[in-house]
Amino acid sequence: MIAIKTRTLGVATAAILFGGIALGAALGYWNTSSTKEPVKIKSGEFAGMPSPSDIRGSYTWADVAKAFSIPEASVIKAFDGSGSEEKVNSLESRYAGRLPDGTEIGTDSVRFFVSLYTGLPHEIEEGTILPKSAIAVLRAEGRAESALIDAAEARAIGSGGALGGQSTAAAPSAAAPSASAPSASAPSAVSAEHAPAVGSIVGKTTFADLKSWGYDMAKVEEILGGIGPSAQAIRDYCSAKGLAFSEIKAKLEGIAPK
């Protein structure tokens, strides 16, 4: 029989824990934060380029600038940032309570801006809008086609909380944008009035989301040629199967439960 004393167990436990961490670090597995390198687009015209859709709230303005080769000053100016180390997720608290119902300036706005600035594809979420400062940067630096910038400006918001060209006082919640501005990948427009009772299908929509919204999963399977794991995003499934997400999205929206 091999007996272990209390002190031996304590020392062995700490040694195994810290030794395991050291081994994990040596093997490159000990990462306590997400890498600030967005995933690469897997296929199509932009294969190998960083995906704006993978920008996360924990990115700083400097991370965004570095990842997409955008001048840091431009990104900070676009979102009226306080410095290069400020995080993208600071936007949500900054604009909280200042925007019309159904609109949001947050992480997806940064993805939208980067998409317009770089021409890389991103499917914007319903309600995502840009601050006017971002439109000014896009125009000043001659980025994106004028039509795309115009469309984005129609749903941009000034520092006072006014949508488009409206004044603050004249910005009732009914002035919420009636259509999504096209992103570089020209996602299909979703009218706020005609949006399904269920959530809109965006890049991060998962099979579980579809199920919870009441989709007929048999029809979904028919469209997709299969069903992925619950937590898998529809877009990831499409990428893996070589399907065009925009087409699948349109088909799925066609069978959205009433």
Binding site: I2, T6, G10, I21, T32, E85, T206, A208, A231, Q232
Partner: protein, 291 residues
């Protein structure tokens, strides 16, 4: 009786206290530096790992997604998976030592329990009727099943919304859910009556690690040949396990704190030990040691 004349053996458990305190301070420091980093205040050399990054349970609930999709659950990092693997290795060796030695929330409850002992004396940790208690002990497996299912289905940290550990170490942060504070408050209150109430009835990670008690290599062994049936081992157990009747403790609730052993509560040397193998095989030598 030997029990009356034996000097109190506090050395080993004092050592355990300092190990617990070390990990408590370490986690507190990590939570604080992460909170300061979020505010833009960097402490040189301190790093800024989040609590999620050092939570082994986050790694456990990520296993499924990692295996099927190759990605981690939101907010979880590679380090959580490393810690989860280390936790499993430790559990294979000696059971849930993470619960008994490392988990700062377990230590927090244990320390609160000292106040409960002062308040209620021998009644402390004996308020819940045994029949009810036996059933309630399996609640944590329901919690584990719910958390695992919800995390697999949503790809998000389902437990975060009611996590008292996160609420305790991040109480100043706006991202802590009300549910976490409610569970934390209930745990603090209950700790005055019951030892480690969250560990016993609700902790999903404790439930996961507890399974390893059924087949761990080093178990709590009682030598029936030298045992004087004083029940000191059972009385000392924070998890109310009846050590006095077991040859090897296989209870899923054991946290391997070693309070029951001959180094602490048991008054007879080499009678309750953490060991691999059996007393039967070493009977002559052990009997000699016990004399």
């Amino acid at each position: 009786m030997a029990t009356r004349s034996m000097p109190k053996k506090n050395g080993a458990q004092r050592f355990r206290f300092w190990v617990q305190a070390l990990f408590f301070i370490l986690v507190l420091a990590i939570a604080t530096t992460n909170g300061l980093a979020e505010e833009g205040i960097e402490i040189p050399l301190a790093g800024s790992a989040s609590l999620h990054a050092i939570c082994p349970f986050g790694g456990v609930v990520s296993f499924w997604q990692l295996a099927t999709l190759g990605t981690l659950v939101k907010k979880i990092h590679d380090s959580s998976v490393v810690l989860a693997v280390i936790g499993i290795l430790l559990a294979l060796l000696a059971g849930p030592v993470i619960c008994g030695w490392i988990c700062p929330f377990g230590s927090f409850q244990e320390w609160l329990g000292k106040l409960g002992k002062k308040l209620f004396g021998k009644r402390y940790n004996a308020f819940v009727p045994p029949a009810l208690d036996r059933v309630l002990r399996y609640l944590r497996y329901l919690v584990l099943a719910w958390v695992s299912y919800a995390t697999i289905v949503t790809g998000k940290l389902a437990f975060e919304e009611v996590d008292p550990y996160y609420a305790l170490f991040s109480f100043w942060r706006s991202e802590v859910f009300l549910g976490g504070f409610i569970v934390l408050g209930a745990t603090i209150l209950l700790s005055l009556f019951v030892e480690r109430p969250f560990c016993k009835y609700a902790c999903p990670y404790g439930a996961f690690l507890g399974i390893f008690n059924l087949f761990r290599i080093f178990g709590i062994k009682r030598n029936a040949a030298t045992c004087i049936s004083c029940k000191a081992c059972t009385r000392s157990c924070p998890m109310n396990i009846e050590v006095e009747t077991a040859k090897t403790v296989r209870d899923h609730q054991c946290i391997c704190c070693l309070k029951c052993t001959s180094e602490a509560a048991c008054p007879v040397p080499a009678t309750v030990e953490l060991a691999a193998g059996s007393f039967d095989a070493a009977a002559p030598a052990v009997k000699e040691a016990a004399k």
